[in-house]
Symmetry: C2
Subunit: 455 residues, 2 copies
């Protein structure tokens, strides 16, 4: 029979076991964080009817989507977790309690051009709070706390959550009477970080035909920087000239006001008036996240407030606020940067039990005792030389090997070898359990990511 | 804009939040069990190149598979986790340590005829141990222990793991000189439970043209019942007449021998000579599981030993043994039977914090304290009447509500209301944390399934 050369499609992440453990640890940290904030898990199908997924999309989505027929059905793979959420909330409206808080961590599909670090199948880790008719601004204020705790639980500390409010932007453009050009202006302003404020100012004049005076006002507005308090004070100068602006400013102040009570240090939060996050979806608070040492990767966690989640499926008004972490890309970049934590336990087991007697019963019993003691245990019995068995343990990276020969059995003990120090202890099984729990406590709780120390 | 009526495709399970919590709890229990036995997590793409997935398949798979083109690529959705494992092991052979023990819990796709309780998208929860060239029989002996612990961790106790060995069957058919008809015979014998041994005997004569003497031998063989020891003793009578039979019997004896040491009670394990599990894949030990009160649902966990995992992708000989749990169907059936545990915590949070003052800072601080104390907390602040807020708490099923008004604040305490007893305690925040941990300890560790008591 001819051999079919095995391959995995490009743009699809497939990890080796040790990295998979770390990826799963990230997923688990996010699950725990989201649960701690009172979000219910949700799992929707990967496949939906095309007419359900494509109601709201324009050209780009249409091009990227995986769409196909099966029998008479026109089907598509989900390209995000938001559209399925909208469908879910509209479909199950009567069975849900509002505000409905859900998290979903799952794979989505986009047939993008294959490119290093770009994925066609990738995990998103989303949370959203959906209100029925109305949704209190306190939910917007809580989001930075969730981002903060989620990122720190992964092992990240050098990041800043950047927040803005779309009403402040639209209000400002109304004040300077440039509402019509606001989308184009925002698109240019979005380039400030890349090309600088001065160049953006020139382009506003040349490309958009905006008067120099007005450009001056835009530049002045965009130049508002400083501590959160300083920015808010500067924004107060514009109050009273536009209703949307005033409302946006009040919302932003509320978001900032409870930060500390929510446990977010001032160092990790910044108002940034240049953030707009797309043009038609978000209507209030918007969030981005920046890894300080890796600004080039963009925002690994973004989101915001929207007025109406499910207008395509229901006439109910369902406002919401949410954030999304692009987990596959984040993991890829952190791995590329060498930030996966070498202290984290990534072996399939914490102990490899090596029987050294013909009767395997004592080794089986030991493995069972270790497992009942809560220790992931791999019972290894293949006909190999002892040296090969130890090199298997090394290759797996198991921290301990438990040797059980006639001598140990005679004493009712086990020889427990610490694979990093080489130290070998002779202990009864129950003491071996305790010893392993103590020895590995720190490594077990090590976060999946470890930032480099740039001191 | 016209409203698109929301719907979820038939054959795709989509759960409401409280059931999703229980489904996820089952997944988590399986993850933990598999990890405890030294298996590494694996996550392969849902989409593979069609020529990779379809190498080994015949007509039925071909018909059911979701296959489509995207650009120039001929793609398919995986229909099980075994073929992707074979590809993975062949592709990453040089980076893996053998035996390679992996678990994978993920969705697979089969476009079956839509039918109640049949799913087109469903979770499989698989473990496999793959050897390089050889794999010790002790791995086969360990599998029942993993099934036993997995099922008991879910909350199931009334089940039996049934085991057989394909070599015993093929050896027996060689002994009675009916090797050629063995597949057809086994297909008929498989019906014993449904139609009885006598009817099967008649069909063997009529349909397969087997002599009555030989049918007598088959019936006698299949009638071997009793304790595991009794069955093994009866099988010894056939020893010495066929090499495969003798080898199969030795393997089966080894599997049985270490059962108790592996922690499997005799009550939950039975040799069953009628089990064959398909005709061309398994080559040695085979496993099925039977829920005693629901025999009609078939085997929710099955598997066995195979000689060569990845013959389509590599010339390496990679024998293995594995089991697979059909998780979506199992969950569906248990739910239908009313076995989801009503004691399990399924609310999105354990506490709902209700601020009763204009300044929200104390309520935000309390929510932060509760979360830092490890308690899933939902901070609820919508402009609703107090009664509506409590009915929201009821609808969510949160066990506790924390009320924070001027009185409580003045005393530096919180009013903690137990929603099931109605009891209300006035406690400082840190004591509230302790109280909740104590009160919910039992419910937190409640398994997702609770069998009915048929006393």
């Amino acid at each position: 029979m001819p051999i079919q050369k095995p391959r995995t499609l490009s743009g699809f992440m497939e990890l080796l076991p040790q990295k998979q453990v770390l990826f799963d640890a990230m997923v688990e940290k996010l699950r725990r964080t989201y649960s701690l904030y009172g979000f219910s898990p949700l799992d929707t199908p990967v496949i939906e009817a095309s007419e359900i997924l494509l109601t709201k999309s324009g050209g780009e989505t249409e091009k990227q989507i995986y769409r196909f027929t099966k029998g008479d059905s026109d089907l598509s793979l989900r390209f995000d977790l938001t559209v399925p959420l909208a469908k879910y909330v509209a479909l199950h409206y009567n069975d849900l309690a509002f505000p409905f808080r859900r998290f979903q961590i799952g794979k989505v599909y986009r047939g993008e051009r294959a490119q290093r670090g770009r994925f066609r199948e990738f995990y998103q880790a989303d949370i959203d709070v959906i209100g029925d008719g109305a949704l209190d601004i306190l939910n917007d204020a809580e989001m930075p706390a969730i981002i903060y705790r989620a990122f720190t639980s992964l092992g990240l500390d050098r990041f800043v959550i950047r927040v803005n409010n779309r009403k402040i932007l639209s209000g400002f453009y109304a004040i300077i009477e440039e509402e019509d050009k606001a989308p184009e202006i925002m698109r240019l302003v979005d380039k400030v970080e890349k090309i600088g404020l001065e160049k953006v100012g020139l382009m506003l004049v040349d490309d958009l035909n905006i008067s120099e005076d007005t450009v001056g006002e835009i530049v002045e507005f965009m130049a508002i920087k400083g501590s959160n308090q300083e920015v808010l004070t500067a924004l107060e100068e514009y109050r009273g000239r536009n209703e949307a602006f005033d409302q946006g400013l009040d919302e932003l102040k509320t978001v900032c006001r409870y930060l500390v009570d929510f446990g977010v240090p001032e160092t990790h939060f910044a108002i940034d008036l240049s953030i707009a996050r797309g043009l038609d979806y978000y209507t209030g608070t918007v969030y981005e996240t920046r890894l300080l040492d890796y600004p080039e990767i963009g925002s690994p966690c973004s989101g915001g407030r929207y007025d109406n989640l499910a207008a395509y499926y229901t006439e109910k008004q369902l406002p919401g606020v949410g954030i999304s972490i692009g987990l596959t890309r984040l993991f890829y970049v952190l791995d590329e940067q060498g930030l996966l934590n070498p202290d984290a336990l990534t072996a399939p087991a914490e102990v490899l039990v090596l029987p050294m007697t013909d009767d395997l019963a004592p080794a089986v019993t030991l493995a069972t005792q270790l497992r009942e003691g809560g220790i992931p245990t791999h019972l290894y019995h293949e006909s190999k030389k002892f040296k090969q068995k130890l090199s298997y343990a090394d290759k797996l990276g198991v921290p301990f090997v438990a040797l059980l020969g006639e001598d140990e059995l005679a004493q009712g003990k086990v020889a427990l070898k610490d694979m990093s120090s080489g130290e070998q202890l002779l202990l009864p099984a129950e003491e071996a359990v305790r010893h392993i729990h103590t020895a590995l406590a720190a490594r077990r709780s090590a976060p999946p990511i470890q930032e480099k120390n740039y001191v």
